[in-house]
Amino acid sequence: MTQEYDKKLFKGTVRPNWCPGCGDYGLLSATTKALSKQGYQPHETVIVSGIGCSSSFPHWTSAYGIHMIHGRALPAATGVHLSNPDLKVVTVGGDGDGYGIGVGHLIHAARRNLDITYMVMNNQIYGLTLGQSSPSSQEGHITLTTPEGVDERPVNPLSLTLGAGATFVARGFSGDNKHLQTIIEAALEHKGFSFIDVLSPCVTFNKLNTYDWFRDRVYKLEEEGHDRNDIQAAFGKALEWGDRIPLGILYQRRYHTLAESDRVVANQNPSKSPLGFSANKIDQESILDEFR
């Protein structure tokens, strides 16, 4: 796809209040460009987020959006998607939102194979609350709440979502915007639950996992012949973290989405169907007769 597209179509009128250099700018720019490039319209797109620095994301776009309460972006996105499956639903948030308070919903959104995209701006720290450890903080990391270093193992978002049945699992890096955009484009195109863990450095509170720290370690899966249809290989790559950190699409498969299997959504768009019994030609008597 080399055609021209309006790179500013999804750009909002409100200026982001993220710190200069924040990794979240990378995802914002890659996402808004990808949405426009693929032909989506702002008024037919809903961007849903939770709470945290990164969750202000929808405000910086021109789309519809829901800035939810902490951890509940995915349930809200589920309601949007199933009520009006014609809308493009993109869900975003941070690691506290998605891997901490809201991690339960991540598992269920994945196993339901909702046809939505979920991107977590993973900075391995709590930024908005000024520097506490996060569920994805590296072991040993000294933070406000771990003066002797984090003594818990971090969550592994890739093996977690693979295990939960996600049909598209990827990792991007906001220090490589072009590559990130290609992953987002593939995620938006994917039919089913597409998940991207986006390494998104916090320049203010995480002095450990910096842009340079990542640049020394990341590599691209597609350059090393990874087979994205092989779930065992995907699990292997999901477990890789340390000297080498894989970027790209770990896994992808086609499986029926919830909107395809739901008895109602498969046949109609609930938001466009009329209200009431007579408008829907529902025979009242047959409903009432069951009670006799």
């Binding site: 008024h43 800035h67 809200a76 309601g79 009431g276 529902i282 009432l288």
Partner: protein, 596 residues
């Protein structure tokens, strides 16, 4: 069948007791449908425990030749499938009553105290008889007992066969086994045991439906155009989920069993944002989990309908029993000051109407609405006439394109009534971000770089005033209490929600005894329509407030808003649904001169 003089009943009360898993609720429902078919008026009330097998459950079925408002405790017939039934329910027997017991599980020595009082005991080997019909199907013992009960009441079998055939459509073997069991039970009653007969209803219930409170809520929602239900199972709200799951395709409702109540309420917020009517239902523990999402809906002016079928609290409390103790927590659900509407249906028929109103008011005032039901209302059944389900649907203000009044879209534009139109995703030129942070007219958040700046001070005050202005307008739309009886009665019984039926019956009884008693019952609880209530209160001579909680929560609300208190209180807290008899007993302890 018999030619001798039979004792004639206009109202007949029976209770079935046994182990959980004996299928009593299902037999109770079939029996109610049977009596419904014969034109009687019926009420049913289940007694359940949090047990799947074992434990003790019961099902109360009451039959009347005229319409009535509630079941009552005293029993004409107790069907005891086990001996615990006699220990638990024997005390509710009328002296003229009969205990029909399963002689395979109950020994006659268990019954000696009742036989001494003159109560008749009939033992049938129900289990063995059922085994004669089929070795595998143990619940056939219930059908054997049904046969015996019909014989005792001098009633025909064939309408029960019809009810069975409808219940087990296309399952010929099960139908046949049940008919055999029914026959066996019917024939086991000797002619000299038949002493009863039910009077014919003067105006038979024709074509009536046997339906529960939760089913009425589900139908009310579907008739109102519900498109999305997300719910997590919990007693006593689960039957809403079950009913709508089973009718999802036919009714066009997306039904999703959420992973928890947090997901449930936040899913319906997302659904409502797209413009569909959305609902969730739960009980106290689930509502506690929903509180943050509920506050978000209030803050973002997102219409929602949330059913709370109350059970005993706090915490796990008494999960399968009735209580009205969540009123305070529903008024204050979530932090900060967030307007909401609370409606408490007073009867099974009203559960439908209130649900329809809930959806319309939610849309018109862009506010979350709580339908405050309880175990008794949600899980009880009664028969009622068929009704029209084509209801008036009012979606409130919606923006789809520029108009003279709203040339451009601002989600929270200031208007005379503080209600601005909603626009739904898909509408061009109306994009906005729903946000739980305080926001301006365009729904831009004030929590970031604008927080604390002078411009935000004004917006903050304006937005709070805005949300409470529409709350006051809503208050004016709400309805005052139902007055039952004469307005100048010497004694007024006050109640709210599901206890209305029992209180009505009590008022009838007192009036028939020559007392001057009336009732005020409330459904529109919050915001309290104070000015519509005041004239009723000033008219009261002596008052008794009946509510099923310890602290008198509704009375406190009346006190706060109208500076009014009742003279006496009854707070029945055993967990058992109040009935006319149990309330009469509680009233008699007050030694009121008005009802001597």
């Amino acid at each position: 069948m018999s030619t001798k003089n039979l004792q004639l009943f206009n109202r007949f009360s029976m209770r079935w007791g046994g182990f959980a898993g004996d299928g009593l609720q299902s037999t109770g429902l079939l029996l109610q449908k049977y009596f419904n078919k014969l034109g009687y008026y019926v009420h049913g009330s289940p007694g359940t425990q949090s047990t799947i097998r074992g434990g003790h459950v019961w099902q109360h079925v009451e039959i009347n030749t005229t319409p009535f408002s509630s079941f009552d405790r005293p029993l004409d017939l107790l069907v005891a499938l086990n001996s615990e039934t006699i220990d638990v329910h024997g005390r509710d027997m009328r002296p003229t009553g009969v205990i029909l017991y399963n002689a395979d599980n109950v020994s006659s020595s268990d019954l000696s105290t009742y036989i001494e009082k003159g109560i008749m005991a009939i033992g049938l080997e129900l289990t063995q008889m059922a085994r004669k019909v089929d070795l595998q199907t143990s619940v056939l013992a219930n059908t054997v007992a049904v046969g015996a009960v019909l014989a005792l009441l001098d009633l025909p079998k064939s309408p029960y066969t019809e009810v069975l055939k409808k219940r087990f459509t296309n399952r010929e073997t099960i139908i046949k086994l049940n008919i055999d069991a029914l026959e066996l039970g019917f024939n086991s009653i000797k002619e000299d045991q038949v002493k009863w007969s039910l009077a014919e209803p003067a105006q038979p219930a024709e074509n009536y439906l046997v339906i529960s409170g939760n089913e009425m809520i589900a139908l009310g929602a579907a008739a109102s155009g519900l498109k999305f239900l997300a719910q997590y199972p919990i007693t006593p709200a689960s039957s809403i989920l079950t009913y709508l799951s089973n009718h999802a395709a036919k009714l066009g409702v997306v039904v999703r069993q959420a992973e928890d109540e947090l997901a449930a309420i936040n899913m319906i917020i997302g659904a409502s944002y797209t413009g569909v009517r959305a609902m969730t239902a739960s009980s106290g523990p689930g509502l506690s989990l929903m509180s943050e999402g509920f506050g978000y809906a209030s803050m973002t002016e997102t219409p929602l309908v949330v059913v709370n079928a109350m059970r005993g609290g706090p915490s796990t409390g008494v999960p399968t029993k009735m209580e009205q103790a969540d009123l305070d927590s529903m008024i204050h659900l979530s932090h900060g000051e967030s307007p909401r509407l609370i409606l408490a249906p007073r009867s099974i028929p009203e559960a439908f109407d209130i649900t329809v109103r809930a959806f319309n008011l939610a849309d018109r005032f862009q506010i979350p609405v709580i339908i405050l039901s309880d175990f008794a209302l949600s899980e009880s059944t009664q028969n009622l006439p068929p009704f029209d389900m084509d209801v008036e649907i009012d979606r409130g203000k919606i923006w789809s394109k520029p108009t003279d009044e709203f040339p451009e879209f601002k989600r929270f534009q200031s208007t005379a009534d503080s209600i601005a139109p909603r626009a739904f995703p898909g509408t061009p030129d109306a994009q906005y971000i729903l946000v739980g942070a305080e926001h301006d007219e365009e729904s831009h958040s004030l929590s970031g770089n604008r927080c604390g700046l002078p411009e935000s001070w004004d917006i903050r005050e304006k937005m709070i005033e805005r949300r409470y202005k529409k709350f006051e307008l809503l208050r004016q739309e709400l309805q005052g209490p139902n007055l039952y009886g004469k307005s100048d009665a010497k004694l007024t019984l006050l109640c709210w929600g599901s206890t209305e039926g029992a209180v009505k019956e009590l008022v009838d009884e007192f009036i028939s005894m020559g007392n001057s008693v009336n009732m005020l019952s409330f459904a529109d609880l919050y915001p309290l329509p104070s000015e519509k209530i005041r004239p009723y209160l000033t008219n009261i001579k002596t008052s008794v407030m009946i509510e099923v909680n310890f602290n008198g929560q509704f009375e406190e609300l009346l006190h706060n808003e109208l500076n009014w208190r009742a003279d006496h209180q009854i707070h029945p807290l055993t967990g058992e649904t109040p009935t006319a008899s149990s309330l009469k007993k509680a009233l008699s302890k007050l030694n009121l001169e008005e009802i001597q």
